[in-house]
């Protein structure tokens, strides 16, 4: 060892000196000797799997220089005949399974494998090609996977896990079957991949490439997409400050579209993965589903004579505890008024953020009001834009100017605020983003901010001696943080972002000013808070009084009314299901399956879960619970079916109705179209008893108050009536 503590070794006849711990590969590189490699990259931990960087250090076998630390007095040959011959064979083997020219070679001519093979003079591969192809995966919106080109260098895996810490990519299978896989071998598009592009940048071959983006995965059936160059984008003020390298890397992740007047840009309920930014022209946002809910009525001639389900609006059929919510929250900078769900968007407006970031269905239909030009972008671009201060500033301004009003007034509690006061708030509010899983405020923290949800879903939980309890899921238009502020105390619950959340933050001072200036707002807030607290107390008391864990975990104790099938009497004849279908225009809301408790089957009708998963994701916020915990679907349901999908018990169904709607082929004309509305078991409240109970020939179906019914079984009388 030299006096400096350096390692001294000989590489290709040159004496070199490197710090201890340096790999042979780096030692050579630092001294101007390039060793070919495929699997090694400077920014990733070396793994030594491609074997191309092998060198001769005089041992029995060659050694991979990227993982071999330099040693004193080592004599390294990086390009002797023995070494180059071994490399040639390896390249020949790799090339024999490589679909040359691969996607990358075709596109940019820089496939690393093909470049090395060419340098080594590999012509037609001499080894037989593998007989079975390994396939493709084009499910991701931005990255194409060609497994045949994959050489299992693991660069993408390390990029995904080490650099980005996304941990989506991994190896799967063994021997000839080995390959890369997303999550537990999902299609890339269905995996938790965030399309950051790191794998694509890491890939030495054409196995992971940027999709020939245009038109393939953007919204289909739209006006032709026009590619936009990074230079074009940089001209736009909102792209000022966005890294040019990022834009050129993501070229194609933004397209420009021209829409003719009247053309539909996106339809409510459709799934998508893009957001739109309006450059020129105006667009009209509207909800084309009828603003109504499903009501089942009995005929005049008595029970089951003819039950029909029809759409009724809240004017005609006021349901218990129906709110006076005046605005329908949508995925755009404006809200829609309940009475006239139409709004206009203009240049500088961004819509589809929730769809793009969190993959929710589109919340409204957008139609070009005049000829207009828009940028349609994928999530990675929107994400970088959201972090760009120019863009954020513009969004903030536009929110303050146009949406704060309707947003605040949309909450019935704040309906009484004066224009003047909202005017003063305008300059004070702040829009803050939270990433999925991020805690917004913690139980016990001092309360200093009041929050309004603008985008996304927030979970409110409270910790109790018995564990954690989900109090609510909040979505656009909901507010939180008032309890602590009203009492001038600490936070009473923990609030966590479930997805990409954006909140309007109103400082404690502004909040206090508001409630002292508007005593009626204070009164309403206090009333609402009182009701929440009472409800929570009841639920918690209930949870702590009942010892039976399984009973609880099935959420049965919280139910006011359960449909039970006595399995000792039930012959599985399905008469109950048919009766339910008959009662609801052929759409059954009852599936004879579910959790069991003792010898009772708790059939699928809403079980009023502790953790109501159905409440998460509704793009228009039209699902909520009554104080009695019964699920209520608000009139502006767009029938996208996400709540039905989210309910783990299949208790929400979609009921189709034929209504007159716009004829897409003949603008201006109407034709019958099928619109869906979500429904869940209404317990046939208009009837003497539920149709399923009525129809059961074996007296096996019962609707009961669970606390009363199971009181004996639980060994105590906890029911209010017993």
């Amino acid at each position: 060892m030299s006096p400096t503590g350096n390692i001294e070794l000989t590489i290709d006849g040159n004496k070199v000196s490197v710090p201890a711990g340096t790999s042979v590969f780096d030692a050579a590189r630092m001294n101007g000797i390039a060793i070919p490699t495929l699997c090694h990259q400077q920014n990733e931990t070396p793994v030594g799997v491609c074997r191309l960087c092998v060198v001769d250090v005089g041992a029995r076998v060659l050694t991979a220089s990227c993982v071999r630390p330099a040693e004193n007095n080592m004599v390294v040959a990086t390009s002797s005949e023995k070494v180059t011959q071994a490399r040639r064979t390896l390249l020949d083997l790799l090339m024999s399974d490589h679909p040359s020219p691969c996607a990358r070679q075709q596109h940019s001519g820089d496939c690393e494998l093909e470049t090395h093979a060419k340098q080594a003079g590999i012509g037609q591969p001499r080894f037989p090609k593998s007989s079975t192809g390994r396939g493709k995966d084009i499910s991701s919106p931005s990255i194409a996977v060609e497994f045949d080109s994959c050489i299992l260098c693991d660069r993408c895996i390390r990029g995904c896990s080490e650099i980005r810490e996304n941990f989506v990519l991994a190896r799967m299978g063994k021997g000839g079957q080995a390959g890369i896989a997303f999550d537990n071998n999902l299609a890339m598009g269905n995996s938790s991949c965030v399309s950051c592009g790191e794998c694509m940048v890491s890939c030495p071959t054409g196995a992971l490439t940027n999709k020939g983006v245009t038109g393939t995965h953007f919204a289909r059936g739209l006006a032709a997409a026009e590619t936009v160059t990074p230079e074009d984008l940089k001209q736009l003020p909102v792209f000022k400050g966005v890294s040019g390298t990022f834009l050129s890397l993501n070229q194609g992740a933004v397209v420009k579209r021209h829409f003719k007047k009247g053309e539909i840009i996106c339809r409510e309920g459709e799934y998508g993965s893009t957001a739109f930014y309006i450059l020129e022209g105006k667009a009209r946002v509207s909800i084309s589903s009828p603003i109504a809910h499903v009501k089942t009525d009995g005929g005049a001639r008595g029970f089951l004579s003819k039950l029909t389900s029809a759409l009724t609006s809240r004017q005609d059929d006021r349901r218990e505890e129906e709110t006076n919510q005046r605005y329908i929250p949508i995925d755009a900078p404006v809200d829609l008024a309940y009475g006239n769900p139409v709004a206009e968007l203009g240049p500088g407006d961004l819509f589809g953020e929730m769809t793009c970031m969190s993959l929710y269905p589109r919340s409204a239909t957008v139609r070009a009001e005049t000829d207009c030009t828009m940028l349609e972008m994928l999530r990675n671009v929107l994400d970088i834009m959201q972090r760009n201060k120019n863009f954020r500033a513009q969004l903030d301004t536009s929110y303050r100017k146009r949406a704060l009003d309707s947003h605040l007034r949309g909450v019935p509690v704040f309906a009484g605020l004066t224009d003047e006061f909202i005017g003063t708030l305008r300059d004070h509010v702040e829009l803050v983003r939270y990433a999925p899983g991020q805690v917004i405020c913690r139980q016990g923290d001092p309360a200093n901010t009041f929050y309004l949800v603008r985008i996304g879903f927030v979970k409110v939980t409270q910790t109790h001696p018995g564990g954690e309890m989900v109090l609510a899921y909040l979505s656009r238009g909901d507010y939180f943080g008032e309890t602590g502020l009203l009492r001038g105390d600490v936070r009473t619950a923990t609030c966590t972002a479930l997805d990409h959340v954006e909140l309007v933050c109103i400082s404690g001072d502004d909040f206090n000013r508001m409630i002292s200036q508007f005593p009626q707002v204070r009164k309403k807030l206090e009333e609402a808070e009182e009701a929440h607290l009472r409800q929570n107390r009841e639920r918690i008391a209930m949870a702590q009084n009942v010892p039976l864990d399984s009973f609880l975990s099935q959420g049965l104790m919280e139910a006011q009314s359960l449909l039970l099938l006595d399995l000792e009497n039930c012959t599985r004849c399905d008469a109950c299901v048919r009766a339910c279908a008959d009662a609801h225009d052929g759409v059954t809301r009852l599936v004879r399956e579910g959790l069991r408790f003792d010898h009772y089957l708790v059939a699928t009708s809403c079980r009023q879960c502790k953790d109501p998963l159905c409440m998460v994701g509704c793009p228009v916020g039209s699902i909520r619970r009554r104080n009695s915990l019964e699920v209520i679907i608000e009139d502006w349901c767009i029938g996208c079916g996400l709540c039905a999908e989210n309910c783990p018990y299949g208790n929400i169904n979609l009921h189709p109705f034929e209504v007159m709607g716009d004829d897409p082929d003949h603008p201006g004309r109407k034709k019958p179209v099928v619109k869906k509305k979500a429904t869940s078991c209404d317990l046939c409240t208009n009837q003497a008893e539920p149709s399923c109970v009525y129809a059961c020939p074996h007296d096996a179906a019962h609707r009961v108050d669970p606390r009363e019914f199971f009181a004996g079984m639980l060994g105590r009388s906890s029911g209010p009536k017993s």
Binding site: G48, V49, R51, V54, V61, L62, A64, K82, Q85, A86, T89, L90, L93, L94, R126, F127, P128, L152, G175, G176
Partner: protein
């Protein structure tokens, strides 16, 4: 390697294969990460050393002195088993 050896038992060998097998054996021996890979070529090296005539009969004259190869299922299974038992494919 399995593909090449199986090819020999099914009449798909060519005279260049012997050199190719030598080259591949050498590369595997020298560059495999693990010890198993490094010794995969050993059994084949023995075959080539002690039964070279038999191998050449298969490749050059398409004959099987033992009367096992080139005959349908028997050929396939015996060759496959023997080839597979030598180890899986490189890399």
């Amino acid at each position: 390697m399995v593909d090449i050896l199986t090819g020999w038992t099914q009449g798909r060998g060519s005279s260049s294969d012997l050199a190719l097998i030598d080259e591949l054996s050498e590369a595997m021996r020298l560059t495999s990460i693990c010890g198993l890979g490094q010794v995969v070529p050993a059994p084949i090296a023995s075959v080539l050393k002690f039964f070279r005539e038999e191998v050449e009969a298969h490749i050059l004259r398409r004959e099987c002195p033992s009367g096992i190869c080139f005959s349908g299922a028997a050929a396939h299974s015996s060759a496959y088993v023997s080839a597979a038992s030598l180890g899986a494919r490189p890399s």
